[in-house]
Amino acid sequence: MTIMKPIREVGILGHGAYVPRFRLPAREISRVWSGDNEETPIEEKSVPGMDEDTVTMSIEAARNALRRADIAPFDLRAVWVGSESHPYAVKPTSSIVAEAIGVGPNTQAADWEFACKAGTEAMQAAIALVGSEMARYAMAIGMDTAQGRPGDALEYTAGAGGAAFVLGPAEEGIAVLEGSYSFVTDTPDFWRRPMQHYPQHGGRFTGEPAYFRHSLAAAQYLMESLGYTAQDFDWAVLHQPNMRFPTRAAAELGFSQEQIAPGLLVNKIGNTYAGSSMIGLSAILDIAQPGQRVLQVSFGSGAGSDAFSWVMTGRIQERRNLAPKTQDYIARRQEIDYATYARYRGKIQMH
């Protein structure tokens, strides 16, 4: 089995991030649930405001991406949003976002779901749409307002945010795709039934048999097929459900802590689920230099990983300043307490 390359060379023309301003420190969660100052998996997570959801957040990220891509919105032939928190079970997030940013009616606009890799599945499809010359430009978005069950370990890390990418011809891009590869098995490590508000997970089973197995397999296969080792890359970004998993996986692949640092955002904003590796990639695009190479590896429960190798072009320096950077969103911070978070996230029983 070979890795995937489109017929026409494809690149990222513009990227855009979004993170809500509210932040809940992990020590607040610990204060309410475990009473002691125990070790928390991250420092703090982002919390969407009462008037925010995956739609509103995707629109802002998409606008940022369009500013950088500098194309007319109506030239986009697809707007695809991947998320675990689509506001509707039936009625696409993608069509609302598309129309809000001036795309359509000549467009695709389905929603994508594959837990935390819904956004990168959309990215693979957007690459294919452009790469087959069915479209000149397509947009892929990974965005989530993850809900953490109160008192569960995952409450510490279920955050909100994500990123949007405009894909188009490589010659117009700020980064060019060298190849991609996806690795998927039926592994039920984490799931949510339609009527459930919160997901369930398999505890320790989410580690070795899920996150590590798929992330490492996808990354290793892509790297080997392209003839690369970790030293051939300048940066790497992995799916970030917490600090421990991506740090350990990166080390196993041979990456240094410095190589993953700019893309490792989970400590300050939490796990943005479908937005996770995507917003990490946008943070790297904000600082990467022409000619540098980035490895991006997502992981979605259920389970699978998508791996991509991107090389920066000369266009990146002029384009990246055309919209707010990822770190600008992270720096825009307003601390809230557990009570406010419970109210904003609709966890208080009103009826």
């Binding site: 125990e38 070790e39 398999g202 505890g203 320790r204 089973f205 070795e208 048999p209």
Partner: protein
């Protein structure tokens, strides 16, 4: 009554075997023991297991494992004494051969505990305690041991950190056991900082949850001698019970069942604590290790912890314990543990324990505790020297 020996052993690594089932693990250990003993087909199988019904929805384990290991038709039953199920199955196998019912018996302890979420597994383990008077009152198994540790610390004036030697010794020994679940050293600092589960019991006081299976073949000692087989004889075998609920015991800080069964085993074997080369005790929690040492005569009441503090429990100490990692670091797949202890004791006595080999090892004791002390099963095993057929005691 015939003299009985272990003539073959087998074990699987202890770990989170996501891709292995209970029957698969059991069969692996069973077939390894049979091969080790050059045995085609035992006459009977005794399976030690505690949680198959609750966690794998599977009873009838005797028949199931017999069939799965290619032994359809033989006599086979599951034996249960909660966390002492492994030793209980061994005792049944021993009695079958000693009593002349069978010549070749296979005993296997097998447990699968990691396919269910932590909460569920923890709740299933409460079945080892008194379900009505302890379990339903909301006490978890860790909490019961925490009550014992707390009282012990109060009565005898110890700090939490004083118990660290038990865990540190266990982990140190596990480093050279290829079957151990946690083959890594831990430091005194790490022990002091360990996260509390139920105060004062921390993560590093408690043995972890794991899957695994261990098995042995039993035969008359005379058979082993006749065929020149490496063998370890059962010099002592005893079971004693106590009140299941801690609050019903005369003295919660004295493991009466450990005392009674060890005394009986000592008498059968004609030995005392001073003649033992090692003691594979049941360190499910550090407090249990301390209480076991006291009840079996290695320390006065309240002084068991001192043996750990003074490093007398290490491989070079006065009474080496957990020589291959114990429950803490080799792992504690509950119903299988008793059989792991016996397999490890056999390795020591046959001189094939590798890096952890105790020099000139002749006689050792294994002790498996069911619940918080309700059912305690002690065995004394002795190397068989073909020339003399037994050991002279000084």
């Amino acid at each position: 009554m015939r003299d009985v020996s272990i003539i073959g052993i087998g074990q699987t690594p202890v770990g989170e075997h996501w891709d292995r089932s209970l029957r698969d693990l059991g069969a692996e250990a069973m077939l390894a023991a049979m091969e080790n003993a050059h045995l085609e087909r035992p006459e009977a199988l005794y399976v030690g297991n505690m949680l198959s019904g609750q966690l794998s929805h599977q009873e009838n384990l005797g028949a199931l494992l017999a069939d799965y290991a290619g032994l359809r038709g033989i006599e086979a039953v599951k034996v249960e004494a909660s966390c002492a199920s492994g030793a209980a199955a061994f005792r049944m196998g021993y009695m079958a051969v000693a009593g002349g019912m069978h010549d070749m018996v296979l005993v296997c302890g097998a447990e699968k505990m990691t396919d269910t979420l932590g909460e569920r597994t923890t709740s299933a383990l409460v079945a080892a305690a008194d379900a009505t008077y302890e379990g339903e009152q909301g006490v978890s198994f860790v909490a019961l041991n925490a009550l014992l540790m707390q009282r012990y610390m109060y009565e005898f004036g110890y700090k939490r950190e004083d118990f660290g030697g038990f865990a540190i010794n266990a982990h140190h020994n596990a480093v050279h056991n290829p079957y151990a679940m946690f083959p890594k050293e831990i430091s005194a600092k790490a022990f002091a900082r360990a996260k509390m589960i139920a105060e004062p019991v921390s993560l590093l006081d408690s043995s972890g949850i794991g899957d695994g299976a261990a098995a042995v073949v039993l035969a008359p000692t005379e058979f082993a001698l006749r065929h020149g087989l490496p063998a370890v004889r059962v010099a002592g075998s005893a079971v004693a019970t106590d009140a299941v609920a801690i609050h019903d015991r005369d003295d919660p800080l004295f493991l009466m069942a450990a005392y009674l069964s060890s005394q009986r085993a000592y008498a059968q074997a004609g030995v005392g604590p001073g003649s033992l080369d090692f003691f594979e005790l049941h360190d499910a929690f550090t407090i249990m290790a301390a209480l076991s040492l006291e009840a079996c005569g290695f320390a006065e009441r309240g002084q068991g912890v001192r043996l750990a503090m003074e490093d007398e429990i290490s491989l070079s100490g006065k009474i080496p314990i957990c020589t291959m990692g114990g429950l803490k670091a080799r792992g504690h797949p509950v119903g299988a543990t008793g059989m792991y202890q016996i397999v490890e004791a056999t390795l020591q006595l046959l001189g094939i324990a590798g890096e952890n080999q105790l020099p000139d090892c002749r006689v050792g004791m294994t002790q498996n505790i069911g619940g918080s002390g309700a059912n305690i099963i002690t065995h004394i095993l002795e190397r068989v020297t073909p020339l003399s057929g037994g050991i002279e005691w000084s």
